[in-house]
Amino acid sequence: MRVKRLLSAVAAIALLPAVAQAEGELNIYNWGNYTSPEMIKKFEDTYNVKVTITDYDSNDTALAKVRAGGHGFDIVVPSANYVPIWVNEGLLLEARPDQMENFKNVDERWVNVPWDMGRDYTVPWQWGLTGITVDTSVYKGDINTSSIFLDPPAELVGKINVAPEMNDVLFATIRYFGGEWCTTDKEVLKKVRDKLVEAKPKWIAMDYGTIEKFASRDYAAAYYWNGAAMRAREKNTDVRFGFPKEGFPFFMDSVAILADAKNPENAKLFMNFIMDPENAAMISNFAKYSNGIKGSEAFMDPAMKDAPELVVPSEFQEAGAFLQSCAPEVNEFYAKIWTDVNK
């Protein structure tokens, strides 16, 4: 009898969390050091919702964790080339942001995007590009080239950090050898592999987080994102950003609601909230990337409007391209090259 009573007590305790579900919560799963606390505060105060932010450092980490289930997140911010994967895997809620009140503010350029035509699932968060960051007190030559990390000048050897992002690194290297993204030309890809294997010992790290390292002068160059370069320049005035003339990838991260979100209504409120120009500007002012919302310029820090990292000079406009999702067999081949480089 006593055992039975014990069991029913255990069962009652097990049921408790399901009953005691707090109201007014929103759990955001986003890249680290990317979410404006000021904007979150404003959202919390406006809707009386408690926001919790959890960090991830790569698209694959986020995908793996959410796929595993039991994550408890409502919102995720995947990159453009990953959005189709999230949609195909059935992980996203078809939130129809295109029917939300603030959708009119989204720049036409970012409405019919290949990864989410017409925006049925996602809204723009921030966009930018991967390029070259150099501490010009160490190296004074041309920095608008991928040779900074692929054929580094002597001054920079052993002081370069390369973002551990397969797609961004392979994109720049394929273009360096005159190939196109998603190419299956083995001759080009062999050169790509050999070049990366040869260059890697000349790098110091393949890591996330460069801002502090440029400030402390542990890094003298990086192949990394432009917003981070701008934040690094604020701490080390010798830092400059270069646009690789051979080719560089654009990225856009978009806000999406998870199919198994516990607070989908709050998540929709959040989607609508960040399409407001003033709020979008807060996001950009913090992370120093451009957003996709018309009219947000008016609320942005003056330093950002004509920041050399954010405004792509016309002569380099053509060199940039969006990372598309390649066919699975191409992706698998690229992953093998990447494993070879990473050993």
Partner: protein, 308 residues
């Protein structure tokens, strides 16, 4: 009723059954929580990999295990030993052995020092040794970054005193990983060493001197044989976690110098090859088990000699 069912035997059997019943909750937890996941891992290592991570359930494949030992050249399809995995494995083994040796070299005199203090002071010293455990390993590792980076404490001192003109690159090298692991695992060496030294009967040392042994002879012939179990326990406690270290190589190695733990993580993350990750994990576990068996055999033998 057979002849064997005497009341005494029945009572004995009942006792055995009760013992099993009483220990069943614990056994259940051990099986479900400790051994169960290992079977999941084993099963995953024999499945085909999913397109975006995960596995295709019930689709048998030995690709994962194949990938542990061999690799096919991606351009000309020739089959070779998986030199990437071997390189990483040898680095892990080298760094773990070095960590064990260095912690032993530092830990032995430290433990000896503590064991020879007055009884009340010993507790204070042991307490001091455990202080690093109060802080999370991740935070301590980042703090270590601050010590060894180019403008960190060590390099500032080196440059200021004129020993070197340029900062020495320590961060993001194998040396940094070694430095970090030695720091993190040192207490795990000191504590078991101290436990066995505390029991050391110093009259034996005196007897050694009385018989005209010099200091080295006393150390080699008296102290080391007695504290050997502590040395072995400490070495096991340091070597095994070193082999699977993840945080230290990630933070201090800069993500470029992988160890086995990082290689496994890569397969479950950007590599999107869970079966290979599971197979490498099991390989690591088998290696640790073999190392343990060797240690235990060795320990058992030397113990026997001591008593003989």
């Amino acid at each position: 009723m057979s002849a064997s069912d005497t009341p005494a035997r029945i009572a004995q059997r009942q006792k055995t059954r009760n013992r099993w019943l009483l220990s069943s909750p614990a056994l259940l937890i051990v099986f479900v929580a400790a051994i169960g996941p290992l079977f999941v891992m084993l099963a995953y290592s024999f499945m085909a990999k999913g397109d975006y991570g995960g596995v295709k359930p019930w689709e048998f494949s030995t690709d994962g295990w194949f990938g542990v030992f061999f690799s096919r050249d991606i351009f000309d399809d020739t089959l070779t030993i998986a030199d990437a995995n071997v390189t990483i494995f040898l680095r892990s083994l080298r760094l773990s052995l070095l960590t064990t040796l260095i912690t032993l070299a530092i830990g032995f005199p430290t433990a000896f020092f503590i064991a020879t203090r007055p009884a009340r002071m010993r507790d204070v010293w042991v307490f001091l040794i455990t202080i690093p455990f109060w802080t999370n390993i991740l935070i301590r590792t980042f703090a270590m970054q601050e010590v060894i980076r180019n403008e960190g404490i060590i390099n500032t001192v080196l440059v200021a005193t004129g020993i070197t003109s340029e900062p020495v690159q320590i961060l993001y090298t194998d040396w940094a990983i070694l430095f970090g692991m030695t720091y993190v695992y040192l207490p795990l060496m000191v504590l078991p060493l101290y436990a066995s030294m505390e029991k050391l009967d110093f009259r034996l040392v005196e007897a050694g001197y009385d018989l005209y042994a010099n200091r080295i002879q006393v150390l080699r012939r008296i102290i080391i044989p007695i504290v050997k179990p502590g040395m072995i326990a400490g070495s096991i406690l340091v070597f095994i976690p070193s082999l699977g270290a993840y945080v230290t190589p990630r933070v201090l190695g800069g993500g470029k110098n992988m160890m086995l733990g990082n290689l496994i993580e890569l397969q479950f993350g950007a590599g999107r090859n869970w079966p290979l990750g599971a197979a490498i994990s099991i390989t690591l576990m088998v290696l640790v088990m073999v190392a343990l068996l060797v240690y235990v055999r060795y320990a058992g033998r030397s113990g026997g000699q001591h008593h003989g």
